[in-house]
């Protein structure tokens, strides 16, 4: 896609682009006149027609929303969970008198206080009953195809969102990490890179590879990008840029505000650092996974590791993004929740309703959204799971509207076909 598209269009390809742009103009996001405006630099336009950042984290394994954001004000919770003691008695921090935050996310409390963290509770996708990780994750990422026997999903909702936007380049969206991200699969270009991918070439080997790739543009362009990406990763790892005062200042400010700035070489920190680096540049959208939520046994212990990874990931993104954090929304979603009752091995089994995490300077934080269904046996789904009262896709859609300015119809028709947006608050209630 060209960076300086003339307006009006002169050929078929550009016309197609502009048709889509005109569509967006109607929806109030971006018009041709704006694209041609001297105030929009070509680079900004090439990256994406908006300046905000969106990070989607898939929490694979089914996070127990009832343990992470504990409805300890619900009188039925304690009886359901004899050893997973909820609320302040179990070390959790009160959020609003009804919900308490699991101590594993304790490092995020300063974000809650500053209004940079919120949750949606009793949410789920429309996936029901089979409770298979495999299908649940595929459907969560596809965002469609929930009716039995509906066509198998082939692309992801984040990609379909990008398809609705002109000016997307291969640098706009990144799938980060070694695992496949169906979420970003599809017709819109998206880069993928795993920050622990090494490319250790001697100078001579590098010269020779570039030589043999000269005749094949596809190989040539991609090896150059791979070399750049690994070199950037190595440079960052070797020595933080001393001129990057912004990072230093943010880190200090974060420390002053009582926030920890995680350090180390853990894989999730490498993911977060790489993601922040891309988002400081041309990228606007990124997606990756945090695994390890399938806590069938000894959940009190088993949940610590993934929760620490999630908290550190968010704090590392915050530190790495510097001033860009103010324009950033991070969504963390999981394939389904877990059983309301603790099982016989001090864990929980696959369930239905769960919780979603929203963080970032662009988030209107400090609240737990959602309609609480209650935990009395009659209130549970199939007498076993938290009853979902809202579609998690509606929350994702409203956040995306708030971040991108895309029209509600784009969400209802293209991104999540048939989704009922009224299940979630209006964008202005979720995004600043």
């Amino acid at each position: 896609m060209t960076r300086s598209t003339p307006c009006p269009p002169s050929d078929a390809m550009v016309r197609r682009v502009l048709d889509r742009r005109a569509f967006l103009f109607r929806s109030g996001a971006l018009g041709c006149s704006l694209a041609a405006s001297p105030l929009m630099t070509p680079v900004t336009f090439a990256a994406a027609p908006w300046d905000t950042r969106l990070v989607v984290i898939i929490l694979r394994g089914a996070m127990d929303g009832l343990d992470v954001v504990q409805p300890y004000g619900d009188p039925d919770l304690t009886a359901l969970r004899p050893t997973l003691v909820p609320g302040e008695a179990g070390g959790a921090a009160d959020l609003d008198g009804f919900y308490a935050l699991h101590p594993g996310l304790g490092d995020l409390l300063p974000l809650w206080d500053r209004g940079e963290l919120s949750f949606a509770h009793a949410v789920s996708t429309p996936y029901r009953d089979k409770r298979s990780h495999f299908d649940g994750q595929d459907l969560l990422e596809a965002g469609t195809g929930f009716a039995p026997g509906e066509p198998a999903p082939r692309d992801g909702w984040l990609n379909r969102m990008l398809q609705a936007v002109p000016g997307i380049t291969s640098e706009t969206a990144y799938a980060v990490g070694a695992g496949e991200m169906l979420l970003l699969n599809g017709a819109a270009p998206a880069a993928s890179w795993s920050p622990d991918q090494e490319l250790s070439l001697s100078p001579q080997a590098r010269r020779l590879i570039e030589l043999v790739y000269e005749t094949d543009p596809l190989f040539h362009a991609n090896v150059l990008e791979a070399i750049q990406l690994t070199a950037a990763m190595e440079a960052e790892a070797a020595a933080p840029d001393p001129e990057d005062d912004l990072d230093e200042e943010t880190a200090q400010a974060a420390m002053m505000a009582g926030m920890t700035v995680p350090e180390g070489n853990a894989p999730h920190l490498k993911l977060a650092e790489f993601t922040a680096g891309r988002l400081r540049g041309e990228a606007r959208v990124a997606a990756f996974s945090i695994n390890g939520w399938d806590t069938h046994a000894n959940q009190g212990n088993a949940l610590k590791k993934p929760l620490t990874a999630l908290a550190e990931t968010i704090l590392s993104l915050r530190a790495g993004l510097g001033s860009v954090w103010g324009q950033t929304a991070v969504l963390a979603v999981t394939e389904f929740g877990r059983t309301a009752r603790e099982n016989g091995t001090r864990g929980t089994d696959h369930g239905t309703g769960g919780a979603m995490v929203m963080a970032g300077g662009a988030i209107r934080g400090g609240r737990v959204h959602g309609i609480w269904p209650g935990l009395a046996e009659a209130d549970l789904y199939a007498r076993r799971d938290l009853m979902p009262t809202a579609d998690v896709r509606a929350f994702a859609a409203q956040v995306m509207r708030g971040i991108t300015g895309l029209d509600a119809r784009v969400m209802e028709q293209a991104v999540f076909p048939g989704v009922d947006l009224s299940a979630a608050p209006e964008p202005r209630k979720l995004i600043i």
Partner: protein, 490 residues
């Protein structure tokens, strides 16, 4: 017309190997294909049938473990011998999972061993082609590591026969029935549905969660992916009717796999593409009948012709090639060997350039073949080595072994594979191969210039010849030859 043996070997096989004869003309690829499957005998892969015995044994061990666990939990101070028995039972149950993973590793080793040593390489390419056309992903119990067993049992013996037989074997295989949810599908007016409704009415507290219904997943994919193709002339009602015909077909892993249960089938006739199938009593014969008709549909002929041309020749194949393949398919009533014969003789399929990118598995396999790695060494790799040196790098290259993203299989276009991440992973693996050759694979690494001669022949690009001689080390030289576009393309 004179055919370039290197082109023939690379486009329709896994490229040359130091001790392997080059195909001088298409008959050198077609004749072995018409003969016995020598590599399957030499490097065996466990058939899917072992899963049934394994599943039964696994369930027995799990039952014992669960029972002991209940006993332990019920006691305040369980005796030491009971705890020991629980540990032993847990280990016994876990063994089946580990054995499943080991079986998967062995089958990958065997697949590579066959490719490294075969003089019938087109058979190996066809195995991968049809495994992709009839993609399955194991998602239940021991099937999770059993995709190769399905390929070996259902597809490989039928590569050269009639497409209808291949189709029936794939679509009615337990692996496919489980993957595309056919095993959960029951006819809306079946006896089984009526029983479930009666149970639900008698006990309203039971959530309707357990009530089954019709699942169209397999029926849709059979039409869209396996036979007619997505653009073909069929509608939602055809999908629905085919799903009703399929209802009753299911997999039972702790018995003998495929079973047809008339009580779950939809009574009455169904109409698919204007033709009526079945009578009052649902039956398996109606399913094979509709599959045979779908196999011979002209849209199926075109769909398969196009897929063959795209996979073997070009992402944008000559329409004349597709027409010719589809015509041959229909003339012969879906016989596959004559279709392959035409493909390998068609001028459009025998002319350069090679524009496709080898998929990660094929790249690794052709590298091992070009380096003359002995099949026995590959087939004998243990699970750790397979995981570390094959599956993990393949995953980084974008192709996790036996876990494609969906039923439509792997992508064909080169841009899907030659990405920064994918290419970096290819380069890392190729550069490290030299040391593995010596340490793990029993091969003295060749001089990179010899590798150029073996793998690329007299038409090797000057830049590759130069680089092979100019590399600082033998390891880098070998790596550069293998990651050169000339070796990566086919």
């Amino acid at each position: 017309m004179a055919v370039d043996p290197f082109l023939l070997s690379i486009r329709f096989g896994y490229g040359p190997g130091p001790a392997r004869p080059l195909p001088r003309d298409p008959s050198d690829l077609l004749q072995p294909l018409a003969g016995p499957d020598q590599m399957a005998a030499r490097f065996p892969v466990a058939p899917f049938a072992v899963i049934y015995d394994e599943t039964r044994a696994y369930q027995i061990d799990m039952r014992l473990r669960n029972q002991l666990r209940r006993e332990v939990r019920a006691m305040d101070a369980p005796p030491a011998d009971l705890l020991e028995r629980l540990d032993a039972a847990s280990d016994a149950a876990r063994w089946h999972i580990h054995e499943g993973r080991r079986r998967q590793a062995r089958s990958l080793g065997a697949a590579l061993a066959r490719i490294a040593e075969t003089d019938d390489p087109f058979r190996e390419r066809l195995t991968r082609f049809w495994a992709d056309h009839f993609t399955v992903i194991g998602k239940n119990g021991l099937t999770r590591w059993s995709a190769s067993a399905y390929v070996e049992e259902a597809l490989r013996p039928r590569l050269t026969g009639n497409f209808a037989d291949l189709l029936i074997a794939a679509v009615t295989h337990p692996m496919m029935l489980l993957y595309l949810d056919q095993s959960n599908s029951i006819g809306p007016n079946s006896e089984a549905a009526a029983n479930k409704a009666a149970q639900a009415a008698a006990d309203p507290s039971r959530n309707n969660a357990t009530a089954g219904g019709l699942n169209e997943n397999l029926a849709r994919e059979v039409m869209e992916l396996h036979t007619l193709g997505v653009g073909a002339r069929y509608g939602q009602e055809d999908v629905r009717q085919l799903a009703e015909l399929f209802a009753g077909m299911m997999a039972i892993l702790n018995k003998d796999g495929l079973t047809f249960q008339p009580a779950r089938g939809e009574p009455g006739a169904e109409t698919v593409l204007g033709r009526s199938y079945g009578g009052t009593r649902p039956a398996m014969d109606d399913i094979t009948a509709v599959l045979r008709d779908l196999a011979l549909h002209p849209d199926t002929a075109r769909h398969l012709a196009r897929k063959l041309a795209v996979h073997f020749v070009s992402d944008d194949p000559d329409p004349a090639l597709i027409d010719a393949l589809a015509a041959r398919y229909l003339e012969t009533g879906g016989e596959l060997l004559p279709v392959y014969e035409l493909l390998l003789h068609h001028p459009a399929a025998l002319s350069p350039p090679l524009t496709k990118a080898k998929q990660p598995f094929d790249f690794m396999a052709s590298s091992l073949r070009a380096l003359g790695v002995p099949g026995a060494r590959l087939a004998g790799l243990d699970r750790t080595a397979v995981q570390r040196h094959l599956i993990r790098p393949m995953t980084r290259m974008g192709q996790p072994w036996e876990v494609p993203t969906g039923p439509d299989g792997w992508s064909e276009p080169d841009v899907a594979w030659i990405t920064p991440q994918g290419l970096a992973a290819r380069i890392e693996w190729a550069m490290a191969l030299h040391d593995h050759l010596e340490d793990n694979l029993g091969v003295t690494p060749p001089d990179p210039r010899r590798l150029v001669d073996t793998a690329l022949g007299p038409d090797a690009h000057q830049a590759v010849v130069f680089a092979a001689g100019a590399a600082e080390t033998r390891a880098e030289g070998i790596g550069i030859v293998l990651v050169s576009p000339q070796f990566q393309r086919r």
